[in-house]
Subunit: 140 residues, 2 copies
Amino acid sequence: MNELPPDQITVQLLGALGNVAGRLDAALEPIGLSLPKYRLLSQLAAAGEPLPLRTLADHSSCVRSNITQLVDRLEADGLVVRVQDPRDRRSIRAELTPAGYERQVAGRKALEIAEQALLSRLPAADREALMVLLGRLQGA
Amino acid sequence: MNELPPDQITVQLLGALGNVAGRLDAALEPIGLSLPKYRLLSQLAAAGEPLPLRTLADHSSCVRSNITQLVDRLEADGLVVRVQDPRDRRSIRAELTPAGYERQVAGRKALEIAEQALLSRLPAADREALMVLLGRLQGA
DNA sequence: TAAGATTGAGATCTCAATCTTG
DNA sequence: CAAGATTGAGATCTCAATCTTA
């Protein structure tokens, strides 16, 4: 009786996580983006202005040092640049370069296609139900 | 109109799954295990005998080098040992130590409690529905 | 001292290259 | 050459310690 313990639903849940994340990441790969890079680029695109690394970290629910490194790589890719904040010299903001903006747009299109493929397996009613159940699972 | 593109359901899915994985990992942390370590230990416990690293990699849907490193850390923890396969000198098997076996049992108990807490938010019918929807989403 | 960012160390992962054995 | 495992390099993450500025 030493079977795999994670309850069926937990196993299913984690499996679905890897599955979905893997598909989205794969869709982004040919255009030179990963999910973490895409998300950061999207935050900046949505804001329409340079954002402090602190803000990016909070919005991403991750540690600050993670953003530091992610921005390092994005800067090496030429998609983002670090700019000083004249009002607070402790703060550093990340700014989208034109290339970064274009890349984000390309990423969005690639993701939309991947999502269509993924969601086409579920009727609209099922999608709605899945949303509700996932939200309930996460609770307060 | 540069809002976060991932469709609501994709965002919800990734969020929920990260949430669940985080909770399970947190439940394992006080006993000195991570989800990846626990899963490998559980494979060995379920098999009841040493398994080739190749088998562990296939079953985990990951690359072989990943298992090599995971076993390195597990061996450093004293939970697993590498044993030679007399029939094929290329193959190396991972074997649970007594400490590894005990740790796996402790991990299972910790996970069961965490799962109870997680699933208590959903009535049985909802759990069933969630399972079905996730299975359908992953397709064949 | 608080807050912002960075660095260093280490856990998980991937991929490509390599080495040994079949 | 195939298949097993490993190594080296690098991407994502976390945590603890450090450095600068408020």
